[in-house]
Structure formats: structure tokens, C-alpha cells
């Protein structure tokens, strides 16, 4: 199984690093944009650098959607995993076009309501995880299987 790990820098990147015990067992490539923390990936991981895309940046999301098509076509992952935030949207959308399985993990900051990215991909992804059990009542498709420590 090959993975594509998609995340914004900062807390979302820290969350993905928290899943290392899972993803390190598989072949993988990353998608993020360069910042003080994600740049540390350079030495040891295969990284597809994309446009800086933060919340509500529609233009950047469109550019990254076309980048997503190229990256997915080249990388051919079996599963696309995103811990958010905004980068999840173009990549999960593009994955649907290729019929690639997708997973979204909502930020632990979202105890009651999903993030905008979470809401946008909620109906698209194959597996949707939240990190608070309360969230499942409001979003029945979401699963609570624990936190990322």
C-alpha cells in the first residue's frame, strides 16, 4: 500500500507527525508547502511542494487542484490521508476523480463543530475521523477511534 500524506504546516503537520507509527510502515509521499517546520522533511521524505494555501484562499485552491491531478497521476497512491486543513480540499476532490481511497482526520481543536475543510470533504471521503467522541452525534459519518497524542 502506498500513501499520500497531505497537510498544512503548523498544528496540522504536527498531527500528521503524531501518526508516524502508522504511516512509517508504508511507502509514502508528502504534500505540503514550505514553512519552518515542514522544511525539515526535505532530508528524509519525498515531498511534493505545493502553493501556500491557507483558509478561504480559493485561487490557491484551484492552482493546487491542478497540481493535485499531476501529483496523483505520478505518485499513484492507494490511500490519501489528510489531517487538514485547506490543502485537504483540492487533494481529496482530485482523488475522487482517480477513484483513490481517501481519509480525513479532523483537528483536535474541533470539539463540537467541524472545520470548514472538514465540512467540505465530509461527504466525499471514505473515512472521516474526529478526535472528540461528542462530535459523532452531530456528524454520524464521523468515527471516533481515539486521539493523536
Amino acid at each position: 500500500m502506498k500513501l499520500l500524506l497531505v497537510c498544512n504546516p503548523g498544528g496540522h503537520f504536527a498531527t500528521m507527525m503524531g501518526l508516524k507509527s502508522f504511516w512509517s510502515a508504508y511507502a509514502r509521499e508528502w504534500v505540503t508547502y514550505p514553512k519552518w517546520d515542514t522544511q525539515s522533511l526535505c532530508d528524509k521524505e519525498i515531498v511534493n511542494w505545493v502553493e501556500m494555501q491557507e483558509a478561504r484562499m480559493l485561487g490557491k485552491a484551484c492552482i493546487n487542484f491542478t497540481k493535485a491531478l499531476t501529483i496523483l497521476d505520478k505518485s499513484k497512491p492507494d490511500l490519501v490521508i489528510s489531517t487538514g486543513a485547506s490543502l485537504a480540499v483540492p487533494f481529496i476532490l482530485a482523488s475522487k476523480g482517480f477513484g483513490i481511497k481517501t481519509m480525513f482526520i479532523e483537528s483536535i481543536t474541533r470539539a463540537h463543530e467541524l472545520s470548514l475543510s472538514g465540512k467540505l470533504v465530509y461527504n466525499l471521503v471514505d473515512e472521516f475521523y474526529v478526535q472528540w467522541p461528542e462530535c459523532v452525534q452531530r456528524y454520524p459519518k464521523a468515527q471516533y477511534k481515539g486521539v493523536i497524542a
Binding site: 503548523g10 503537520f13 519552518w36 483536535i108 481515539g146
Partner: protein, 164 residues
């Protein structure tokens, strides 16, 4: 030493920077401050006790936290989990939407949600002053004492692979 960190996201957090300025000017803070200001402008901020840095590497931040008597941080989940994990004494200042500090108020909701685990946060300068005068003690237990999602995924995908 006190660490004051606003994270490195691209939204400015001028309110917190202004509070820091007041705390130094009023001599409520009388020890050195390491200020990771990220995208927030610090051109007006100048004080002999203050060291401004846009961003620290993870290792630099860890080393600084180990020496700090108190960490004042924006309520980002990455920072919060790092501080809780390191056993630091810390207080959070949530970024708020109405001041253009983030896209929505999830930092405030997050701070409220983790308050039940013993995390301290403040939304007013007066509250922060109290925390400077009386720093909160480090958390005694893990912040999120729950099953690990990574373990669930490891089991789930091992099973799926075997079934192939």
C-alpha cells in the same frame, strides 16, 4: 525566562503583542522574554528584556521551554500538545475571529474544551496579569488520556492488507 509565542500562522495577533508591551512597560514582567511573534509585526515592540524572533525550530523551542518559568501561547493545538507533553507551566490566549486573528473561534472552543483537563486560558489582559503573578503549575497527567488513533489505523490497515 518567559516564552511568549503566537505560533507561526499568517494571521497577525496584535492584541497579544500589545498586551506583552504593556506587561513589560508596567513592569509586571521583570524577567527576560523570548517572543516568537510569527506573522505579527513587532516594529513598535522594544524593551531591554525582550528578544524577538519570527520563528524557532522545533528543537530551539523545546530547549527554550525547558528553561522557561512560564509559557504564554496562542491556543493552537500543536503548541498546546507540545507544552502539555513537556510538562511546562503554560497559559493559552485564544485567537479570536472578531479581531481578525483567525478564520473562526475554534481556538477559544479548543481552550474551553481542554480547560477540563487542567489547561489555563485567558481572554482578558487582567486575567493574564494574574497568571504572570502566579504561574499555573504544570499538568500532572497526559492532556488527552484516550485511545490512540494511530493504533486503530495500524490494526485496521494490517487487517485490510491481509484480506487482499
Amino acid at each position: 525566562m518567559i516564552i511568549f509565542t503566537l505560533g507561526t500562522i499568517f494571521f497577525p495577533f496584535d492584541r497579544a503583542a500589545n498586551w506583552l508591551q504593556i506587561l513589560l512597560q508596567e513592569e509586571i514582567i521583570i524577567e527576560p522574554v523570548l517572543f516568537q511573534h510569527g506573522a505579527t509585526s513587532v516594529t513598535r515592540l522594544n524593551h531591554p528584556l525582550l528578544t524577538n524572533v519570527a520563528s524557532l525550530t522545533t528543537d530551539e523551542m523545546h530547549a527554550a521551554v525547558k528553561q522557561a518559568s512560564l509559557v504564554v501561547s496562542h491556543a493552537g493545538q500543536g503548541s498546546t500538545r507540545m507544552l502539555a507533553g513537556m510538562g511546562a507551566g503554560f497559559v493559552l490566549i485564544p485567537r479570536l475571529k472578531r479581531y481578525g486573528e483567525h478564520v473562526d473561534d475554534h481556538q477559544l472552543l479548543f481552550a474551553r474544551a481542554v480547560e477540563r483537563f487542567g489547561v489555563h486560558y485567558c481572554t482578558e489582559l487582567e486575567q493574564l496579569i494574574q497568571y504572570i503573578k502566579q504561574p499555573p503549575s504544570p499538568l500532572r497527567k497526559k492532556l488527552f488520556d484516550a485511545p490512540l488513533l494511530a493504533e486503530h489505523l495500524m490494526t485496521r490497515y494490517r487487517v485490510l492488507n491481509l484480506q487482499k
